[in-house]
Symmetry: C2
Subunit: 219 residues, 2 copies
């Protein structure tokens, strides 16, 4: 019985996500859903990405947090439109929460909408919001055994950003193991090794994102 | 409607957790529920704690993971009884899952049962399993803004272990801010600052745990 309730919720969510997706298509707007454990660096990556790309792309952000608006304020400081969703306990964003934000944005004026999900390596992977693709961040400080333990997130993501690589000298982890295990679960993953602190690897991510948005929105 | 479903699930779980608790009381067994984000160091802390205390306490462990039995194998290598629960997608352990493990243990022979929850800073805090108390680990690499963003976990926990303090020199975080924000949410938190890598701070944790188990089980 519990399983069927969960299935109903997921099916209802999939339908709303498809409706969101139709609206994004109509507006010629690329959307990605950014997920990670708490503190892996989602907001910092967004701050850097906005700083690098806001001259060439019009970016909007939806911030998901259980409570507080700290992250939305960090993004607003970059001078771009941002809406904070406080889930009030819910451990993930869903299609309905995203739809509720549409009236707060001028979607026609945007090229890229980024959905920063609640920090959680499990539940957000189950709920589509209408995105073009999911991207996840794994911090090297979380260890090299995470792909096998949280496989759905790795399977659902198109992009894996491995962050905080500046800390590798102080950790007992193997970057090769992270990549091998992740690619075993999802051979199509596009992997970027980055440090939001030193900037290493970020130029490749910016270039990929800019090109992908431009190609998608020209189609 | 969705809210009432969640409430029913939580109420049913609370009832099962109370039944588990009555069994633990009857057996004179202390139980704690260990929670954190993925990769904050739960299994490593358990390995160290078992190594330090298994001469004086009989310890058993329940390992919760979505899939894989990697963590249970690490604990089994320490020569103590361990049961792996694979939740198969569920993002937390609940009372029923814990009850299902009882037939795998000789509960009368144990002094302390540790439940290592699924790595997730959100959902596990909502589901009691019959524990005496909840303990959480926060890795300093997750940043100093986590208490305000994930308040329920901090509010529900009696113990906060702040781990990986050996990495503080390489991070832009304030230990004072972590502690202040955590204590603002839960003034009763008992805080240990530890490094499972260097061993710093662990002796205080071992001493507290040993004394608490002995006092509880003598009562």
């Amino acid at each position: 019985m519990k399983v069927s309730v969960v299935k109903d919720i997921l099916e209802a969510n999939d339908r709303i996500a498809q409706e969101n997706r139709a609206i994004f298509d109509e507006k010629g707007l690329m959307v990605f859903n950014l997920m990670s454990s708490p503190g892996a660096g989602k907001t910092t990556l967004l701050e850097k990405t906005i700083g690098a790309l806001h001259d060439s792309l019009k970016i909007g952000v939806i911030e998901g947090d259980i409570q507080s608006s700290h992250d939305a304020e960090r993004i607003a400081d970059k001078g771009i439109p941002v809406v904070q969703i406080n889930t009030g306990g819910a451990c993930h964003l869903d299609g309905n929460m995203i739809r509720d934000t549409f009236k707060e944005f001028d979607l026609d004026a945007l090229d890229l909408l980024v959905v920063e999900n609640v920090g959680n390596l499990v539940c957000p992977a189950e709920f589509k919001v209408g995105e073009d693709f999911k991207a996840m961040i794994l911090s090297v400080t979380e260890g090299d055994d995470k792909p096998a333990k949280y496989p759905l997130m790795f399977r659902e993501s198109r992009i894996l950003l491995i962050n905080k690589i500046d800390l590798i000298p102080y950790l007992d982890i193997s970057m090769n193991r992270i990549k091998e295990e992740a690619l075993k679960i999802n051979p199509h993953l596009i992997i970027f090794e980055i440090s939001c602190k030193t900037g290493e690897g970020l130029d490749q991510w910016y270039a990929w994102l800019k090109e992908t948005v431009e190609r998608r929105n020209a189609a």
